[in-house]
């Protein structure tokens, strides 16, 4: 399967995506819902998390991917841009660095970058969003579990279900089996094992046009099934709602689920989740160093509003803290039901 970009699909254009999202007149504009909740304009609370997208290259081509990542994507963060990120982490005392992609490990400077972040402070919480299969994709990645352990990285890995059928239908043929193998390798060095201090969290997102199950109920089910059938241990399960952008938007339209899915998100709008959206304490950095309110805005090319601080090289903490967060119709995905963020539910 090729990325939407490689297919020259109209939805590979963020302008077209936004036109589609804004054309559905029966869906209340998101900003109006925020107004009703006393949250508009949406403002940051603080900057606790720097989420860095290290590139769109990935060894997988997942059907729901909001990044439209895949082997045919060549956008990769350079070491120069990573240098600007390190300056910000150091100077602004950033406590949480969240590395994502694509598969961040495919960036040739990934290991250098992780080690440089760790040199800044022992206390920085570094999360790598590892797709699992990268660990077994090539012998040069087989030692990643040891590398993660040495640098005390927290791992967050997608696993849509505890069965092959559902996982492979979303993430590609054979992904479940490879993911189980990678999870066994992570467990073998201590990840997810009680008392090890090595955090291995799993991320669930629905394999279709429906909302995620209760995070706590699903975590119990995942723990029971993965432990009894595969001997796998992990720490927490985060449930994430699929946002209507990129490949998931393409799926919604193609399967004629788009309108009903947007209605479902709107009907499930939760003001408590809206107050706790992740963009209020996060800045997302694109592979080319531009700054966004979140990874989803990044993919829609909606840069932060602060015209004097739109690139990591011109970081201005005061401007960023005082900015208005850019919102659009896709934001209903983060405010539906129990809420959704890269760290799971928000209410």
């Amino acid at each position: 399967m090729k990325s939407l970009k490689a297919q020259n699909h109209p939805l590979s254009s963020s302008t077209h995506e936004l036109e589609v999202l804004e054309a559905q007149s029966e869906i209340t504009p998101f900003y109006k819902k925020l107004k009703e909740s006393g949250l508009f304009p949406l403002k940051p609370t603080q900057i606790e998390v720097l989420q860095i997208n290290m590139g769109k290259m990935c060894n997988q081509v997942c059907k729901h991917c909001h990044v439209d990542a895949g082997p045919d994507r060549k956008e990769i963060m350079t070491r120069d841009t990573m240098g600007f990120c390190l300056d910000v982490i150091r100077n602004e005392n950033i406590k949480n660095v969240d590395l994502t992609g694509g598969a961040p490990e495919m960036n040739p400077d990934f290991r250098w970058f992780v080690e440089e972040i760790r040199k800044i402070s022992d206390k920085i919480n570094i999360i790598v969003r590892c797709n699992l299969t990268i660990i077994v994709a090539n012998p040069k990645y087989n030692d990643l579990p040891e590398f993660f352990k040495t640098n005390r990285i927290d791992i967050a890995s997608s696993l849509p279900y505890f069965t092959a059928v559902k996982t492979d239908s979303q993430r590609g043929e054979g992904v479940f089996e490879k993911s189980i193998k990678a999870l066994n390798m992570l467990n073998a060095v201590g990840y997810g094992i009680a008392g090890s201090g090595l955090v291995l969290d799993l991320v669930y997102n629905p394999s279709g046009a429906f909302l995620p199950a209760s995070q706590s109920d699903l975590e119990l089910e995942f723990k029971k099934k993965l432990s009894s059938q595969y001997g796998i241990e992990f720490n927490s399960l985060f449930t994430i709602t699929n946002l209507p952008i990129s490949r998931f938007l393409e799926y919604l339209i193609r399967s004629e689920n788009y309108e009903s899915y947007m209605e479902k998100l709107l009907d499930a709008y939760n003001p408590v989740a809206a107050a706790n959206v992740m963009c209020r304490n996060t800045i997302s950095v694109g592979w080319d160093g531009f700054l966004y309110d979140c990874d989803f805005n990044q993919m829609l090319e909606l840069k932060v509003e602060t015209t004097g601080s739109q690139h990591i090289s011109e970081w201005n903490q005061i401007q960023l803290l005082n900015r208005n967060i850019v919102v659009n119709q896709h934001c209903f995905g983060c405010t539906a039901g129990a809420g959704s963020s890269c760290g799971g539910t928000t209410s």
Partner: protein, 110 residues
């Protein structure tokens, strides 16, 4: 094409209150209470509802509880097993009545 069942009508379920509000309010309060987690989990109740939906052959209920069970984290295998429970009870209910047929056969046969 006009049909007796229209999936759009499922969204209008709450409108039954337009014709009789006090009873509808009582029903929806009761309905909400029934489906809360209790001695059974919300997920178990949803699977029961899916099975019953098939037993009573209500298209609205089947649509609603297909989505609901998926949103409770159930997979296709679990959902189909629930429907087989309904089918087994329905089939069993027919077959167990054959004892009446057998009784009558014996009664009137030499």
């Amino acid at each position: 094409m006009k049909t007796y069942y229209n999936s759009e009508d499922l969204k209008k379920f709450g409108k039954i209150a337009d014709f009789q509000k006090p009873m509808a309010d009582k029903f929806f309060d009761y309905y909400g209470e029934v489906f809360k987690a209790g001695a059974l989990t919300a997920r178990e109740k949803s699977l029961i509802a899916l099975a019953v939906s098939h037993a009573i052959q209500c298209p609205y209920c089947i649509e609603a509880y297909t989505v609901d069970t998926m949103e409770k984290g159930c997979d296709e295998e679990q959902m189909m097993e629930a429907v087989h429970v309904a089918a087994a009870i329905r089939g069993g209910a027919s077959l167990v009545h054959s004892t009446q047929m057998m009784n009558k056969v014996k009664e009137i046969s030499m």
